[in-house]
Symmetry: D2
């Protein structure tokens, strides 16, 4: 079935494989009047580009985005915005061998099961390059949200056994190290850990954390269109994500009502405000006005050079070492992808919330 | 926006509040020819009924389900199946006071923010009784899946600090203790823990685990309709769920490629089979033929008798003790809800997968 | 597939068969704060009830509607509104014979082809009683629209060869004759025509026309969610409808640019206004601020007492006379159904239009 | 709202404006294993290209399509197929003047009302070039359907007052005249009629008819996803379409039950077959196995050189003559667009029908 669209009123449709002509996205339902140009989108795409650190693969990828429709005289027209990035440097020869077997941890086997065959070059549709469409769309979503006072802070929270610490937390550090960690010490430790992984032909997992600020209360719809449910779907649709949590997440399982409930007090502006935020900004499936805090658990890069057991298409058991260029860690590249998917979800929630009350409806249609 | 429907080809629409006339669900897209009667559904609803243990509230709820449409001569007709459970014993007087303030941890505040007012009786639309519709639909979904050889094993994995252990795992124990734990020792320890909570006017969180067996490979659609993404949305739409994970879940963050990848071997039937299942049965967003393993982290019941700080509608800070009948734990009641949502998701994935290949399409339409 | 829901943000889900326990609808996405009670809905349902004229069947149908959820203290809460009408007087014995053959012009044959069997009692899911859910939902939709200054004028435009005439047009006549024609002379001629049909054991078709006034400009979304396209789907989903048109409709085929274009002038309020309305209020798929004019062509009632040729389930050719109580005309009963479906479509279009522009988005979220 | 996608399981998303960089479509949900290349699509696009007759505008448009993704080694992979046609010859200077006023019969006014401004060059998103995406997708849909034995015959049925006649009907004539009429005499008369229109600086409307053969019975879902309802939405979403009908269409309004019902007989293969086809192949909203016959009424080209009254953006009443290159008739160009939209709808209906019965579900999942 058509699985490449996400969203209801604000809908993104991505396309493209790692070794096809290009990848892109159609962003449909963007309101008219948003200033937009290629730069806005390129900034986001650059955050996913490898080669920025020794820990992300030195494949040279020219990911220059082009806007093909939907923008006129510097502003969105309200019509679909088609964005494309042409593939420049995808050589097939590095991958020809893997056509014959199923790489462990990859979607080779399941693609074959579902479709009967697959584009084996690189990861095809499940390649990391598939995130290009998501991130290009995310750039637009974040721009819309920024105009409404909603901002994002997304970073690597942990790599393997190394986590950032709250005492050392410094948002300014995020762009100062190639691992996007807001904690210089943790970043250094993590780099050492990753060097060890590389030496062992191994890879590591980690956690991305995303904080969204300035979200108005009431976004999300009981019961199935809860904001946390849609964020979960959005983030878990990203390749390599095996877990998702909001607020205290899995820690709530060990908590009690007394230490998990967020109490209410009256804030400076005379309105209710929570004194803690164990809920992570979502209550009863709707945003409650405090920061939304979410996390994605990302598995280690499946492609490692170390020998692995698998089977080939002739039904033979074989050992393989996946040649080629591998990232020992996906997490830093996933930071902007998590942010993008969260942003796209939030825009849709903002739009679908507008008809919640008769009084706002009447006000809206009165001029 | 309309948030009470879930699914594309197999779609459920729930309705009802805890203190309205009743609750129910319309199940649309159920194939014709499935044997179905009220018993099939009642069995499932009974798994959520309180009063089965001292740890679930002794509110007397008669939840007899009635089939209003969609079944003829004992089989589904392919037309929408409307199910209803009438509310019998919902007295308002226990709740009248809470109309005036926002209970911490509840959706009172966010409902008010979104809609301007709320049905304050009980939890209204966010009451635990809202799960009646989900579970009734789940009964039908599980019956469809069983006919196709797909089965569920769902239980409480942990309560507070007490987890089941793999050595002691015994599925037969699930229905032998009121906490639905497949480990008699863990169940006993958990009961002691909960007694302590009750004594302190407190509540506890926990984790539900669900194993799905017999799932054919290839279900789910890259990139946004991945099976794990839809399962995440389905399960996280359940009230009180703050985290979701597949396979090794958040543990993947600390793993390495060598110990996280599932190797392939040739199985007894000459077909590829995985030697481990860190992936939890889903690879590249599609089922891979092994067991699907998922987990939901559930927060402690927000309604506790202990005093809490909050604010009332007049903007005053107050202390409240929420009177009435409270569960110290939601988790055992959530077991059948998690199973139901997973089942509904899986049915939809089975249906939407049927058009994946030209050859099966041609075979299907050839008689 | 699930085919019983209609709408995106404002979504209705109907259920029920003519001889099941009841029929109903879940209306999801209704804004909170709309005053609503059973009367509002009953008024609409009464417009479809037979027995109001000698031309609609004297089957006694008690169609008292009940609100089961979604309303509190006289206003909608924003949660799904479940409405039910219980079947009172549906005897199976009138229909038992038809289980064995396919009635011409009915869905018996296609239901069998699709599902393998069918509920043969009455029309089952394709019975005229299926419109109960649509009309109940339509009552709510019209109430929302009325609050925003949008009103409907729906009536029978023609029956067989007899059409209303513009010179004789008198809206007040609509409720003065059982055929709902806004032209007393035409109504009289049509009654004579129908008497002739009855005498011949025959039935007649006709056209329903619906005029919607006060619609703001800009509703509808290029390219596939055009307002006329959604109205077409909504109205053509009504049983027995074989044609749909907007404005001059099929007459445009014989027109020329000079006599079909609607010129613009400046209106009394200084804003553009059209001098004619060949377009029927929709231009480029969006409402243009003038009256929306649409028409539905309705075929003759298929169930007639006159002998017809058909086949039975054993593959034999037979002649049948369909016994029982038949309407010689569907059209008057369809008037409120067309209005209801148009209303439901328009509400959805109003809601989905709210996010069209950045400036209104910013204004909406600024308090 | 996002209005540029159509379909549920087989979904097309179009993008592009007449004077942007290009136009295209993403076709998502195409089954894997369908042989496909640019030729397949180009053939369809060529059927819409102007310049093939003196009656379609001599604008030189190079509409060479390119496949950017979704095809590997000559077959579809099941992943989204992105198609693009780059704009080559769209000069803005012909259109600069119209930025200042609202052309009668065009969407200028409604676009402004909805979005606050518009891309005034050519028709922008409502240009006839928008059909490029639809037709490219239609090529793929028709190819899928052909593989399943379903074929299309689409043509111009009438232009202005000139209709084809059944006695003279000759499908072979369709491609022998630039008006795509299956009747050489009617084509000649129509050409004369159009010459007269051109001389008067006028334009004409007409009707497109489409016959679909080989459709299996049972496609479409009561009540809102009826096949005729979805075909109506698909076809009425095409620009300039003001009416849609199935089978006898609006003629049913003047018919009686005796002459409108299609009787059943036993066919050569021992299965029921209808003796007539007033229903146009759809009964109760589902295909009945006979030919599906549908018609679209298309209004005259709004852009005519003759003077017209309108208003400009400064609120002044003015007279305009729309300069530039105009088609006196849209209908022949719309033939392939109607066929494409019908095909896309039919593919989706085929896919969504596969889960209608438990027995076929069980058969499907048994290997």
């Amino acid at each position: 079935m058509a699985g490449s669209s996400f969203g209801t009123i604000f809908k993104i449709t991505t396309w493209g494989e790692s070794h096809g002509k290009g990848l892109g996205v159609v962003v449909d339902g963007c309101p008219a009047g948003l200033p937009l140009d290629e730069n806005d989108i390129q900034k986001f795409l650059n955050r996913r580009k490898p080669g920025q650190s020794k820990f992300t693969t030195p494949r040279k990828e020219d990911d220059a985005v082009e806007i093909l429709s939907g923008v006129f005289e510097g502003k969105t027209t309200g019509t679909p915005i088609s964005l494309v990035v042409y593939n420049q440097n995808q050589k097939s020869k590095d991958y020809s061998e893997i056509a014959s077997y199923y790489r462990p941890g990859h979607a080779d086997y399941t693609f074959d099961q579902k479709y009967g065959f697959r584009d084996y070059r690189g990861g095809g549709r499940s390649s990391g390059r598939e995130t290009i469409g998501r991130v290009a769309a995310g750039a637009i979503a974040v721009k819309i949200l920024n105009q409404l006072g909603i901002t994002f802070l997304t970073y690597t929270r942990s790599i393997g056994p190394i986590s950032i610490s709250s005492q050392n937390f410094d948002a300014a550090q995020i762009n100062e190290n190639p691992l996007y960690m807001p904690d210089a010490d943790a970043a250094e430790n993590a780099e050492n850990y990753l060097n060890a992984c590389i030496a062992e032909q191994n890879s590591s997992g980690g956690v991305v954390e995303c904080i969204i600020q300035g979200v108005p209360a009431g976004l999300g719809d009981p019961v199935f269109e809860k904001l946390n449910a849609n964020l979960a779907k959005a983030v878990m649709s990203i390749g390599a994500v095996k877990g998702f949590e909001i607020g205290d997440g899995f820690d709530v399982a060990k908590a009690t009502g007394k230490n998990n409930n967020d109490a209410f007090r009256i804030g400076a502006d005379g309105r209710p405000v929570k004194t803690t935020n164990h809920a992570g900004g979502i209550l009863g499936g709707m945003s409650d006005g405090s920061d939304i805090i979410l996390r994605a658990a990302i598995k280690p890069t499946p492609s490692i050079a170390a020998p692995q057991q698998t089977v080939n298409k002739d039904g033979e058991e074989i050992d393989v070492s996946i040649k080629g260029r591998h990232d020992p860690i996906i997490v830093p590249r996933a930071v902007v992808v998590v942010e993008s998917m969260a942003a796209v979800t939030l825009v849709d929630a903002l739009f679908t919330n507008m008809s919640a009350r008769m009084d706002s409806l009447e006000m809206f249609y009165q001029h």
